[in-house]
Each structure stands twice: as structure tokens, then as C-alpha cells.
């Protein structure tokens, strides 16, 4: 079941791309990937994770208890990897088109 990837969902998928992460790890990675502009709250994060898991893009990959705190890890599935690759290609194509457009247009001045 395909799902539309919002910017936040895309960043969460991207955070899981290199290694499985637990919830707090995803929040930190998303903040780093977005240059500090996207700060996920727990409610938003788990809403996104629920939808990603429901769409088959991510899955649980085990849990550990550290200092009495439960950490459940999530990882990308092959379908999630494909969706991430496709979305990244779409964004890259969009950025290239935007670059071409901006390259041929002068910055509007103040009349």
C-alpha cells in the first residue's frame, strides 16, 4: 500500500536509510538531516512511524531496555528503500529543473 511521503515522513525514512534506529535516534537524525529546522515531537514521530509500518516501508527490528527505558528499533524494508530512492530521484529532478529556471531568470529588482 503506497503512501504519500510528506517532508517529515521522507526525513524519517532517510534517517533509517543507513542503520536501524530507535525513536529518539530518529528524532536526532532528522534534526541533523534537516539542518535543525525539523524537530519532530513524539506524537508526530509515532504517527509517521505507524503509517510507514502500515505501508510496509519500515518495520521493527528488535528492542532493548537501557536504564529502564524501552528502545524499539526500526529499519527500512526493501519497499521502503525503493520508495526513498524514488522520492529522492523526484526531488533531485525537481531541484535540477528549479536550478535551470533560476539560472535563466534575473533576480527581480525593486521598482
Amino acid at each position: 500500500m503506497a503512501m504519500r511521503l510528506t517532508e517529515q515522513a521522507y526525513l524519517v525514512l532517510l534517517a533509517l536509510a543507513d542503520e536501524p534506529r530507535h525513536g529518539y535516534g530518529v528524532v536526532q537524525e532528522v534534526r541533523a538531516l534537516s539542518g535543525g529546522t525539523v524537530r519532530l515531537g513524539a506524537g508526530t514521530l509515532y504517527g509517521i512511524l505507524d503509517r510507514l509500518v502500515g505501508a510496509g516501508y519500515a518495520e521493527g527490528s528488535g528492542e532493548v531496555v537501557v536504564d529502564g527505558r524501552l528502545r524499539r528499533y526500526y529499519r527500512l524494508t526493501p519497499e521502503g528503500h525503493d520508495a526513498l530512492t524514488a522520492e529522492t530521484a523526484r526531488l533531485a529532478a525537481l531541484a535540477r529543473r528549479a536550478d535551470r529556471l533560476l539560472g535563466g531568470v534575473a533576480r527581480p529588482g525593486i521598482a
Binding site: G41, D50, D67, G68, R69
Partner: protein, 394 residues
């Protein structure tokens, strides 16, 4: 890594997490709490408002996402139609929730109400007799919830949660089978019994204090006649005296009998017993029973006044006994773990092993979650994991 989460912070998060469905909280509550603790400043004892509102919005969004469409929901509520299996998890939350039996009765009441008011369509005057409602319907509804709540729940489990051939097994899926007999755990049982005893004592006190008449029986030459007699000061005092006597007996039992009997309790092996807390459905039924009993006393005040003295004596005797039993159970001074154990121990009856009963097992005990239940004629599924659910629960 930070230290374990402050219990006050856990409670604060727990309050906000109530926005999520119960099943979701059970599955993810500890994980979300840990993430929130990581995100919170060191030493935080409460969840900040912004994070709490985030949980509130996300929790209700989750509920909305999982809720069946309106028409399917109306069919489920009004006609008990089976929901699409993808809403099975939602149905399980609903069936195991505290309001299931209440809503079930209210729907029945609404249907009866509509039928009763049908004459209004023919131009007759529409009337609502509030006296009839409170005298007849309200106690019936409440006592119906108390008595049949468990039966309705079992029927809906059979209809909504049992997996059919061709459907996918989910954690909420059920299969019929022989299961360990559920017994309410001792502390829950004692707390519920105390609520009943206190409520009964208060009701009897009110009846003795303000009831103008009491039902009486007269034997004459012709036969047995039920009459009404005024409540005199002597009658009221006799009732209160009976209650005081009951309290004294209860105190004596609590002082000399409860502890030794509970400590002497020798439990039998119970391979087919499943000790469960009273839970939300049990509390709903308890509240309905107490409320229904109170309304019934209002409906037949004379009869309530007649029984108030002896019943108050029983309740007054029970309270110290229950308190003493609770102390022994809380201190771990007895092998009684279920309410029925406490009753048997106090009555000095020997323990009896429970037998398996008809019920429902998690379908995941039969087939792994995500597999499709085979259709008739399909190859048999692989053997389940060793040990039946009955054995594991034992």
C-alpha cells in the same frame, strides 16, 4: 544514557497517552514514554504542554484513522453486523472497553423508545413519562448491564474477532477453544466487594432513616396478605441495632478468624485457572449493579425498608472482614491469589481445581500473525508452537 524514567513523569505521560486507543497504548506506551523522557529536560517530572498537545492530536488522529466508516459503524452498533476484518483491532478495543455494555443497552433502549413513540407518527401526542423511565427502565438497564454484560461481550467476540477462512491472522484475531477459567484476582475482588458493602450500607442507612413505610406481611384466617406498615422509631432503631450487631460480629471475625483462616489456606494446583484483574468491563458492571440496586430501592421503598436492617447487618459485618482480608493479602500472608480463594478460605472450604471452559484463544497461538487462515480443502497449517494457550496460561 539517562537514568530510568521518573515515575511522576511516567504518570504525566500516561494521562496524555489516553488520547490513543488502548491497544496502541499497551503496545507502544513504554516506548513513547522513553522517547519523551529523552526529549524532556533532565529531572522533568511532568510532560510539557506542547508535547502533551502533540500526543493529544496524534492520538485522536490514530483513533480516527482506525475507526470504521460511519455506515459500517452504525451497522455494528445497531445491528451487530460484522465489520471488515481490517477493523478487527478497533473492534477488540471497543468490546474490551468500559462503555461497551452501556452502549449496547442504550441502543436497545433507543430502539424500544422509537417503537414506543411510533404512534406519534399517526398524529398522537408525543409524551415522555420520566417517572416510568426512572422507575422501570433505568434499573432494568443498569441491572441488565451488570448481569448480561459478559454475555454480550462474548457474543461480540464470536462475531467480530473470530477469524474466518481466507482472512489474515492479526494480534486481535480469536479462535474458539477450551481456555483456562478466568478468576478475578484477590485484591481486585476485595476492593469490589468493599465498594458493594459500603454502597449497601449507605443505602440501608438512608432507607432506615427516611422511608415512611415498610412492606409487611399479615397472616389472617384467609391467608397471607402483603400490607404496608409505618416505620416507627422502634423499627428504625431495631434496624440500626441489627447493623451495629453485624459490625460487632464482623470486627470479632476480623480480629480472630480472618487472619488464621487465610494463613491456613492450602491452594490446590490450578493448571486451568487464569487470574485476571477486575478490569474496565468489570468495573462498569460493578458500577451498574450498585446503581441499579440503588434505583430499585427507590422503586420499592417499602420492600427496601423491610430488608434494610438484616442487609445492613450483613454489609456491616462484611466490611471489617474485607479490610482484614485485604491486609493479609497485601502482606503476602496467604496463598489465596483469587477472590474465590479468599471466599473458600474464609468459609474453611477446601480448594478445588478449576476446569477448562469454552472461550476464545488468540488466533496467533494457532497461526503466525500475517498468515491467511486456510480455506476448507487447503493444506493443513503447520503445527503450532509447543504448549497450548491453556497450558501457557496455567
Amino acid at each position: 544514557m539517562g537514568p530510568s524514567v521518573d515515575p511522576a513523569f511516567v504518570r504525566s505521560v500516561g494521562r496524555w497517552l489516553r488520547a490513543y486507543p488502548r491497544r496502541w497504548r499497551v503496545a507502544r506506551g513504554a516506548e513513547v514514554t522513553a522517547v519523551l523522557a529523552d526529549l524532556a529536560p533532565a529531572g522533568a517530572r511532568r510532560l510539557d504542554l506542547r508535547s502533551g498537545l502533540g500526543l493529544l492530536v496524534a492520538g485522536w488522529a490514530t483513533r480516527w484513522r482506525e475507526h470504521p466508516p460511519l455506515l459500517a459503524y452504525l451497522g455494528y452498533v445497531g445491528l451487530e453486523l460484522r465489520l471488515d476484518p481490517r477493523y478487527r483491532d478497533w473492534a477488540r478495543d471497543d468490546i474490551e472497553g468500559p462503555w461497551f455494555a452501556v452502549r449496547r443497552w442504550l441502543v436497545t433502549f433507543a430502539v424500544v423508545g422509537v417503537i414506543a413513540w411510533l404512534p406519534a407518527l399517526g398524529g398522537d401526542a408525543l409524551s415522555f413519562d420520566s417517572s416510568t423511565f426512572f422507575r422501570a427502565w433505568a434499573p432494568t438497564i443498569l441491572l441488565g448491564i451488570a448481569i448480561w454484560g459478559g454475555h454480550w461481550r462474548a457474543r461480540m467476540v464470536a462475531r467480530q474477532l473470530v477469524v474466518h477462512p481466507g482472512e489474515t491472522v492479526t494480534p486481535s484475531g480469536r479462535i474458539p477453544g477450551r481456555v483456562a477459567r478466568p478468576r478475578v484476582e484477590a485484591r481486585s475482588w476485595l476492593a469490589a466487594a468493599r465498594v458493594v458493602a459500603v454502597s449497601v450500607l449507605v443505602l440501608c442507612g438512608v432507607a432506615l432513616a427516611i422511608a415512611p413505610n415498610r412492606t409487611d406481611a399479615v397472616l389472617d384466617g384467609v391467608g397471607f396478605q402483603v400490607t404496608s406498615a409505618p416505620m416507627t422509631t422502634g423499627t428504625r432503631a431495631a434496624g440500626i441495632g441489627l447493623a451495629a450487631l453485624g459490625a460487632l460480629v464482623g470486627l470479632a471475625l476480623a480480629r480472630w478468624a480472618v487472619g488464621p483462616r487465610l494463613r491456613a489456606w492450602r491452594p490446590a494446583a490450578q493448571p486451568y485457572r487464569w487470574v485476571v484483574p477486575l478490569g474496565a468491563p468489570g468495573r462498569t458492571r460493578l458500577a451498574a449493579a450498585v446503581g441499579g440496586g440503588a434505583l430499585l430501592a427507590l422503586v420499592v421503598p417499602g420492600f427496601a425498608a423491610l430488608l434494610a436492617g438484616p442487609v445492613a447487618a450483613l454489609a456491616a459485618a462484611a466490611l471489617p472482614v474485607l479490610a482484614a482480608a485485604r491486609r493479609v493479602v497485601a502482606a503476602g500472608g496467604t496463598g489465596a491469589v483469587a477472590g474465590v480463594d479468599v471466599v473458600r478460605a474464609l468459609r474453611r472450604q477446601p480448594d478445588r481445581a478449576d476446569l477448562p471452559v469454552d472461550g476464545y484463544l488468540p488466533a496467533a497461538d494457532w497461526l503466525p500473525v500475517g498468515t491467511v487462515v486456510p480455506l476448507p480443502g487447503d493444506p493443513a497449517p503447520p503445527a503450532p508452537a509447543p504448549g497450548t494457550a491453556v497450558e501457557r496460561r496455567g
